[in-house]
Amino acid sequence: MAKASFLNRPEVRVYGTPVLFVLLGVLLLALVAFPSWGKIRDLQQQIGNEKDRIVALDKKNAQLLDFADQADAIEKSFAVFDQAVASESQIPELLTQVQKISDSCGVGVTTLQFGGETEQSGGPVREVRLQYAGESSFAQLTCLITALESTSRLVDLESLRYSSNVNVETGVTSLAAQSTLVSYYTQVPTLNPDTPITFSLSDSGYLRNLQLLESFKVY
């Protein structure tokens, strides 16, 4: 009854229809046009990004196809670099290498133990520390240090301290050396299709490193 009487009021009958259309128009603009406008801008941005992504993916795909043609060379180079900077800590192999180098120089190893791992800041490289102690002559010690500096798996000396000891029974003087050795490894990289390939087999730094590592001795 109240609804019917409201619709029958003269001002509603006269102005109702045009006002209703204006309200419907405003509602349409508010509920459809404005959200669509915002969505269009967002979609245009996304389309731009997606097009850029496709261009980058195409480029990466083409690079990978090129690399695939040189798969054998990559495999060989990887083996050389993996020997220098391993993909895992490979501590037993590292200990064995240091033991072999010591043996080859005639240095008697008195201590060789794993001293922990640390992560280098700002890179994927991790460090493996070894505590080393050995007895030798000066010439043997020099041989050991030089050999460590040119071994196929990279080993750095963080510190070296030696002093001479006289064997009371034999009267022979020898050097007792202690050192902290550091070796390195990089973890297997996590693949992301959006990560661009910036590496090139013709990069001068890479070629120099490859040539250098190939000259290092494998123990």
């Binding site: 405003v26 180079s77 240090i145 510190s159 070296l160 250098l212």
Partner: protein, 198 residues
């Protein structure tokens, strides 16, 4: 002469009603017009955004195909990224490496035959090398100090060499010394170009 009076043929009420009718007609057309305009604008924008959504969906499908193609080379990509990481690591390691053998060689090249070096301490990234030993002759000790900074001997590496202590060991008849030799900054490092013949 009779006066001529103005005769109004249309009553005022009718005139007002006509004006109101014109206003109402315009209001109705305005309302309709605005509604039609709103429909057109909303429809156009909606259709355009729908079109863009479809386009984006197509592009996403295309990039998914490219990602799948790249995934086929996963093993190769791992090797390439590994090579890049390892090569960068090798450059960094070798350029930051301190070659302790250089210090040992410089000490040995400076040592007079009659002087004994019984101990040395070298630390990475430090310029100070401590040398301890004993000698039967102060002349040899002086020569050793001089040789350490002689460019044809230890001076290739050491910039300064200072005697920090000497103790006479009367029972052995020797003088025990401690020398602190200072290398230049990065003195134990080698530029990578020179690494080729270690």
């Amino acid at each position: 002469m009779a006066e001529k009076s103005t005769i109004e043929l249309i009553p005022k009420e009718v005139e007002t009603a006509r004006k109101k009718e014109v206003f109402l007609r315009r209001l109705r057309w305005g309302g309709w017009g605005f509604f039609i305009f709103a429909i057109l604008i909303s429809g156009t924008l909606f259709a355009f955004s729908w079109n863009l959504s479809t386009k984006l969906s197509g592009l996403k499908q295309e990039s998914a195909q490219k990602v799948a193609q790249i995934a086929q080379f996963a093993d190769l990509e791992k090797k390439i990224l590994g090579l890049a990481n390892k090569s960068a690591a090798v450059t960094r390691i070798l350029s930051q490496r301190d070659y302790f053998s250089t210090a040992l060689a410089a000490i040995e090249a400076s040592r007079p035959a009659s002087l004994k070096v019984s101990g040395t301490t070298i630390e990475k990234d430090k310029t100070l090398v401590t040398i301890i030993g004993e000698t039967t002759s102060y002349v040899s000790l002086a020569a050793f100090l001089q040789n350490l900074t002689d460019p044809s001997r230890g001076g290739k590496l050491f910039e300064k060499a200072a005697l920090t202590s000497v103790n006479l060991n009367a029972s052995k008849g020797t003088a025990e010394y401690v020398i602190e030799a200072t290398t230049g900054r990065n003195g134990l490092k080698r530029p990578l170009a020179e690494e080729e013949k270690p």
